[in-house]
Symmetry: C2
Subunit: 344 residues, 2 copies
């Protein structure tokens, strides 16, 4: 975040748009003390809590809001699917299994029951496919259509894959392809639960998260949590066909605006820029010790048809995420898409 | 719910305002199949799920939304307190203990960070007082200020107090006083966790719920869940001073409007009408076998200073809730405050 040098107001005097989501979460998490039964709290994909017995529980909540996470005309089933998919993707990023889901629905009073039903149907279908039961929730009127999904999952005790486990020398991988998600993928992505669980069970991964705000925003979070740096190879980023198509359209929202015009990737190579900055990919990004990487790649290819790309490695340059293009290296220290930031 | 006789459209063709919250929830819960690890799903104060070990888990989500659950000028701390208090009240109604809380915050981008912080502070303070840890959540921009709180609690395996356990002959009790909550109580009520837990541990109660929509709306739900009827003694209802004061002001929102003008309690005796219809009391209403009631009342008085009133008894008139005033009996079969209904 860049403050203007003349702005000396304390953070709390500003609006949430001025400080952005990352700073707001940092600010709020100070109000919340830790506790022995909380293995991981605010700041990872899910909270991990200890309940006794063979499993830890994973807790996650996430909203989808009209005009923020989907446009007004979106079919109800797609909205419900996305809402559940988002939290399942977070459970996947911990190597977990989903168990139970609650849904808070907010809707203007004039909303057709049919639309709400479609929304629930989409949610229930995806939940069922992944073994999760919808067990409750609330319905309330409000100014816009919203669905807040709360999921409980589980992972064997002490085995949750956190963002904080990456070590210098680890290889960095990402599943699938990235970029252009708003052209449709964000409403129909399959949460990578099978992949996340397999990665955990095989003992392959040291750290993992899902790509929700774009690699350029998410990799710095993984680096910060692990106290390491990341170097990414531009040519290795798996750019989606949708991101490449975006090249041919006016770049009204391309990554340059989010990055303050710094990126050598923006402009001519905007397919890559989309892949790094669009977000909503809901793929897994994770780290594997270098000594295991050959065996891992072989095992992955045997198990999954889904693409898995080695995109870089973990460095000792703490907190710094860099993009290498040939012999040129640039910083990838972007705020990415933050929910509250003004997007000038 | 009363349909106009000329309205033959199927439920799904209508708006959520036309069918109301109760019917909407019935409609949606058909889309959600049961499962062996779900002891109680949609329809009780909390969902009860089996996780293995000595405890069942309680899951609950509830929103507070600007202009629905609080007016725009409400201090942030009060909003946070109410949001957490609502879900804790539901855990109390199962005889449970709270463990962990997640909060989804929605706010317009221009909202001051200070306001959000106050909101979290109010939430965190009430959570801490009752032994609950805030472990995560999400922040997103949206059209209005909202807080969606998700709580996980626990109760010894098989011991959750459901709405469905009331038996013919049981006495019906309510804690505290009722009515006029919007004059302030709804922003500062203490969730009755100690009372709920004591009631469960003592083995006193057969059924319990919290009074969130008013006795006139909530008792029919308890009756329906238990497959019994309820008869309430008008003179025994503990009317709050705030509800009595409401007598002296114009009755623009009194219970007659919600009840379609049926209630003999409305009008002259609007203190009682407020007590039955206002809602947001967050007191506990519960049933005790008649043979235990004398011992229960004595034990309660020894343990708590909080008022506890015997207001009626469980009858065999399945699904019928009646109000007795002297020798006059009237139906109390109200929809009460439903979030989506048009309030003409």
């Amino acid at each position: 975040m860049r403050l203007q040098t003349t702005d000396y107001r304390p953070q709390t005097m500003k609006s949430v748009a001025e400080i952005g989501e990352n700073a707001l979460i940092r600010q709020l998490s100070r109000l919340v003390p830790g506790r022995a039964d909380v293995v991981a709290g605010i700041g990872d994909d899910c909270a991990v809590v200890r309940v006794g017995g063979r499993y830890d529980l994973l807790l996650k909540s996430d909203p989808v809001i009209e005009r923020v996470h989907f446009p007004p005309g979106t079919p109800g089933e797609r909205i419900g699917r996305k809402a559940v998919g988002r939290v399942l993707s977070d459970l996947a990023a911990m190597g977990g299994e989903p168990l139970w889901i609650l849904m808070d629905l907010v809707a203007p009073a004039k909303t057709a029951v049919r639309r709400i039903e479609a929304l629930y149907r989409g949610a229930a279908r995806l939940a069922r496919r992944h073994g999760a039961a919808i067990v409750g929730g609330d319905t309330s009127r409000g100014p816009a259509l919203e669905l807040h999904v709360f999921a409980v999952g589980r992972v064997p005790r002490g085995k949750a894959v956190l963002r904080s486990g990456a070590r210098v020398g680890d290889r960095v991988y990402v599943t699938g392809v990235l970029g252009g998600s708003l052209q449709g993928w964000h409403l129909r992505f399959p949460p990578r639960l099978a992949e996340g669980r397999w990665l955990r069970e095989g003992g392959w991964v040291t750290a993992m998260m899902d790509v929700s705000d774009g690699l350029a925003a998410d990799l710095p979070r993984l680096a910060a949590a692990s106290g390491v740096g990341v170097e990414v190879e531009a040519d290795a980023i798996p750019v989606s066909p949708a991101a490449r198509c975006a090249d041919h359209r006016p770049q009204t929202k391309d990554i340059r605006r989010k990055k303050g015009g710094e990126s050598p990737a923006a402009g001519a190579r905007s397919g890559l820029a989309h892949a790094l900055g669009d977000g909503e990919d809901f793929e897994l990004v994770f780290t594997v010790p270098a000594c295991k990487s050959a065996a891992f790649e072989q095992a992955w290819r045997r198990k999954f048809r889904l693409r898995c790309s080695a995109i870089g490695w973990i460095t000792g340059a703490k907190g710094r995420v860099r993009l290498r293009e040939g012999d040129r290296i640039s910083a990838l220290d972007v705020a990415g898409y933050e929910h509250f930031r003004d997007r000038r």
